[in-house]
């Protein structure tokens, strides 16, 4: 007999993934008067969107992912539409291609995130180079991707704990 608590209606807590993803660029790009990650910060937004889309895709429908991406771009001063396009690509890769295996275990989730992060990084580099009409150095993009992959367990752990507390299902 399963000991999991299952709630069919999440009510106001359904906005948790949206709230977390919206706060991500604010937290990673805040000036604290000291340096958190040097020149390049990990993409907390990507980690959070990946986690929640792989766990609860219905709580982050495409329109919300679009808004999260636009918010991220406006906050950090990126070309508007860039992050939303990349995040929608991530959502499509997980949901449309049935990569639901990512939510089956922590390790699979980490490996899946690393693979998708590599793809997103490459796509971002190509898009930004196109926007700038100049082939940019790939190294800052790779550093950002590596930092994101390293940070994934911590953020996914917090998200998983919140998932259990709020929605009552433990996985992985």
């Amino acid at each position: 007999m399963s000991t999991h608590r299952i709630r069919t209606s999440h009510g106001v807590m359904s906005i948790l993934p949206l709230l977390m993803a919206s706060m991500a660029p604010v937290l990673t790009n805040l000036s604290y008067g000291f340096s958190l990650g040097g020149d390049t910060a990990p993409s907390l937004t990507l980690i959070i969107v990946f986690f929640w889309v792989s766990r609860r895709p219905t709580l982050l429908p495409p329109i919300l992912v679009l808004l999260i991406g636009l918010w991220h771009d406006i906050l950090i001063g990126a070309p508007v539409g860039l992050t939303s396009l990349l995040l929608l690509g991530v959502r499509a890769a997980i949901v449309e291609q049935n990569f639901i295996v990512f939510s089956q275990s922590f390790l699979l989730g980490w490996i899946g995130f690393a693979a998708l992060c590599a793809g997103v990084t490459l796509a971002e580099w190509v898009l930004v180079s196109w926007l700038q009409s100049e082939l940019l150095s790939l190294s800052p993009f790779v550093v950002q991707a590596l930092l994101s992959i390293i940070l994934y367990p911590v953020v996914a752990g917090i998200c998983g704990w919140l998932d259990y507390i709020v929605f009552g299902i433990r996985k992985g």
Binding site: L30, Y32, G69, A92, V128, I169
Partner: protein, 311 residues
């Protein structure tokens, strides 16, 4: 222990699936459309950011408050634990600096007199606007930060931004109470500079790294690592002779500049409300200002000149 999948495709009706698919396609089109529009129209991204920058900044400031409290608490603890040796060293340093005050005053006075003779505006005459950096650069391809001062404080596009060490960048877009700075290291930054030791002029180009590149330097062989790099004042956006950094050893055949300002730890900065020197043709075209009080003194025709006009 049985695993429970959160995805229950059977529970999702065909209508819901179609609606979700349609919203996905619409979202993709919106993102692509915005990207392409931004590529075609250079000002599009700036205009969008100008509209929302005043919403973003208060949110960021609110979120940062707990961190600010923790940092200030740490500073109080540090101040109490300052050792006697450190206090003595600071007192000695203070005494040495006081000895330099008369010399500094004399040089400032001489500088003012010489500038008056040449009718050159001094950057010390420009109003300075204090601002705090709300964000820090953290993107792989962007070096911009948000400041908590905007048009209401007198900030305008192109105003230079400096910190205690040197040039930080220039204002890129302005909201009512906040503004965005394009840092000197950003790929889109180009600053006319001169090498202090040789007087050679060059363009310092940002390259999304900590070390911008010096280009269009005619006498590169005359430049040595460690030479100071200053703004040349060409182009009119930056006043002349603001310190930027020092030349590093050549890398991959390029001379680079190590920036004085620590851009990843920016906190308080000054925005120079600098009115640039206009080209002579504009001085001729502009009517001379009327002197209402009849004192006979006439200010140089610099006030009210938009930086864009010079660019």
């Amino acid at each position: 222990m049985s695993r429970i999948s959160t995805r229950t495709p059977d529970n999702v009706s065909l209508t819901q699936m179609l609606a979700q698919r349609a919203s996905f396609i619409i979202a993709i089109f919106i993102s692509l459309g915005l990207l392409i529009f931004g590529k075609i129209d250079d000002d599009f991204n700036l205009q969008v950011q100008r509209l929302v920058v005043d919403i973003v900044t208060p949110v960021a400031q609110t979120v940062r408050k707990p961190v600010d409290w923790a940092v200030s608490l740490g500073a109080i603890v540090e101040a109490y634990t300052l050792s006697a040796e450190e206090s003595a060293a600071l007192r000695q340093e203070n005494d040495q600096l006081r000895l330099l005050v008369p010399t500094s005053d004399q040089l400032a006075s001489e500088n003012t007199r010489l500038r008056a003779l040449l009718a050159l505006p001094s950057i010390t005459d420009s109003p300075k606007i204090m601002a705090r950096s709300v964000t820090h650069p953290g993107s792989a391809f962007l070096w911009t930060v948000l400041l908590d001062a905007g048009a209401d404080d007198g900030v305008e596009v192109y105003h230079p931004v400096v910190d205690h060490a040197g040039v930080v960048g220039r204002i890129l877009s302005v909201g009512r109470r906040s503004s965005r700075v394009l840092l000197v290291t950003d790929l889109n930054s180009r600053i006319p500079v001169l090498i202090e030791s040789s007087g050679d002029r060059a363009i310092m180009e940002g390259n999304n790294s900590r070390l911008p590149v010096l280009s269009f330097l005619e006498a590169a062989h005359q430049v040595s690592p460690g030479d100071r790099v200053l703004t040349s004042g060409d182009g009119g956006v930056f006043p002349s002779l603001l310190p930027i950094g020092t030349v590093t050893s050549p890398r991959e055949g390029e001379l680079r500049v190590e920036i004085f300002a620590d851009l990843s730890r920016l906190e308080y900065v000054q925005i120079l409300a600098f009115d640039p020197v206009p080209p002579p043709e504009q001085l001729v075209e502009e009517p001379l200002p009327e002197d209402d009080e009849g004192t006979g003194a006439q200010a140089p025709a610099l006030d009210g000149l938009e930086p864009e006009a010079v660019e």
